[in-house]
Amino acid sequence: MRRLAHNRLLVLAVGFVALQALLAVFAPIVSPHDPLEQHVLARLRGPGGTYWLGTDQFGRDVLSRIIYGCRASLAVSATAVAAALLAGGTLGLLASYYRGWLERIVMRLMDVLFAFPVLLLAIGIVAVLGPRNSTAAVAIAIVYTPIFARLLRGPALVICESDYVMSALAVGASDMRVIFMHVLPNLMSVVLVQTSLLLSAAILVEASLSFLGLGTQPPTPSLGLMLSEGRNFLMLSPWSAIFAGIAILFLSFGINLLGDVLRDTLDPRLRGER
């Protein structure tokens, strides 16, 4: 019974994420309208009719903009998190494998980056590089690098000191071989879980940056930007802001739920079974 409820949750999460990923990938086919086409006479409409979710202040189709916005949001956050995983993961792994001064230097540098509140550092980096889609990705990648490094160092330490790694080293396996054949595979579950949780958070950071005008630039559809533009017309027609917010929530929610369920699946201690 419990397993069943659990599997249902997994199916729900996977389905949710898959649906959004498909929508994003096939945005040009799925969108009912051109997300940039302005129809001034049909602006600020509520949901219903030709425009299922209504129109924004230029009469652009809200649904199409949300679909394209999810695509942009996913692209930025996924690229950023992948880059952070690569950089932070490598640093964390090397630090825990070689220990000594390398570990000390790497982890202190990570501490410095980690010392800043996430959004604050991201705002600072974007301010330096100039507000664009790509710089938002760079900022998120930099902010998340120390988080990955810290998250992976702990489990990696345990694995590096485990018996099978020790015995692999004893039979003369090279460093690279040990890292790739023994340490890395054992980290996969941690990586999988943390990546999805951080990806979910990255979507919110990207939306916050766009909301503050520091991410995607108009007229390119972006969820945070739609919310930011829509809030100027809240009393006339709140729909574009409301739907954009719900879209951000759904996107972040699905991926977070997936990570959450994965954690339970991969870590038997947390299943609540005695």
């Binding site: 949750l9 919310l227 917010g245």
Partner: protein, 316 residues
């Protein structure tokens, strides 16, 4: 042994603090556009000589390294300079803005952590059932709901339901304590939701973790009821990670406050930082980010130390 560990951590802490000050100072100067240009506004008539004059007046014509050394030297003796715009000492400005943010974050922490304990216990007790699954999905929603959006929706709802209620802005506690708390309630709830979600989840898993331990089995074997096992034995054990992660929340709160203060017109540190970035108010921005970051680092340090003191396993 324990003492040496603390010394080592202190050395690390100082290294981090110094590096942070360097990063803050130089990052701010890398931001394109400068205070002088903003002061003059877009499209005013001004000659390059006038710009240079104004820049010299603000001390922005010195080499950057020299500016940094002068700044850090004065800062160490408690002088963070004056705000470029109002000419008031930076510390005074920060002091004015620190109270609303402190109040807001404390109130959110109170709401979030306060509700997380019963929620987490309930989830642990109902583990594996449908209600548990629903509550977990709810916590994921709480964790992923964009706070700036939630704030705007709340304002919209208030305007629709009670158009004549004056619920926005900030009233100093000394002016009207009741009004002060009343007006902070909406933004605090907005900010508290992710904390509630996060902490209740954490509590749930920590308690489930505890339930597999030997001493719980012993308690069960001695005939303790399921309720008392969950609420007394498991909860007590789970409170350690709970308390330590409250420290980590401060970072989130400071970030979240930036956006929430903007929406609810609260004159706190978040507004101060965004405003200072927009105005290129270097002394103010440097000092604010430095103090906020140091606060964050120190809170985490203290939490780490507490953790060391409580949990002997970590010391090894």
């Amino acid at each position: 042994m324990f003492f040496r560990l603390i010394i080592a951590r202190l050395v690390d802490l100082i290294f981090v603090l110094v590096s942070v000050s360097v990063v803050v100072f130089f990052m701010i100067r890398l931001i394109p556009g400068d205070a002088v240009a903003i002061m003059l506004g877009a499209n005013t008539e001004v000659t390059p000589e006038r710009m240079a004059g104004l820049r010299a007046r603000l001390g922005l014509d010195q080499p950057v390294v020299q500016q940094y050394l002068a700044w850090i030297d004065a800062a160490l003796s408690g002088d963070f300079g004056t705000s470029l715009w109002t000419g008031r000492p930076v510390l005074d400005e920060i002091a004015v803005h620190v109270w609303p943010t402190l109040q807001l974050t404390l109130l959110s922490l109170l709401i979030g952590a306060g509700l997380a304990v019963p929620a987490g216990c309930l989830m642990a007790e109902l583990r594996g059932r449908l209600a548990d699954a629903i509550m977990r999905v709810a916590t994921v929603v709480g964790l992923t709901i964009p706070s700036f959006w939630l704030g705007i929706v709340m304002i919209l709802v208030i305007a629709a339901l009670a158009p004549s209620v004056q619920a926005l802005g900030y009233v100093a506690f000394s002016d009207d304590p009741l009004d002060n708390v009343a007006r902070l309630l909406l933004p605090a709830v907005t900010l508290a939701l992710p904390i509630l979600a996060n902490l209740s989840r954490l509590l749930r898993s920590a308690m489930l973790d505890a339930l597999t331990q030997d001493y719980i089995r012993t308690a069960r074997a001695k005939g303790a009821t399921e309720r008392s096992v969950v609420y007394v034995h498991a909860l007590r054990n789970a409170l350690i990670p709970f308390v330590t992660s409250v420290g980590i929340m401060t970072g989130y709160l400071l970030g979240g406050a930036i956006v929430v203060e903007q929406v609810f017109a609260i004159p706190g540190l978040g507004r101060l930082i965004l405003g200072a970035i927009a105005e290129r108010n270097y002394p103010l921005l440097q000092a604010t980010i430095l103090l906020v970051t140091c606060g964050f680092v120190v809170v985490n340090f203290v939490v780490d130390m507490l953790y060391l003191a409580i949990d002997p396993r970590v010391r090894a």
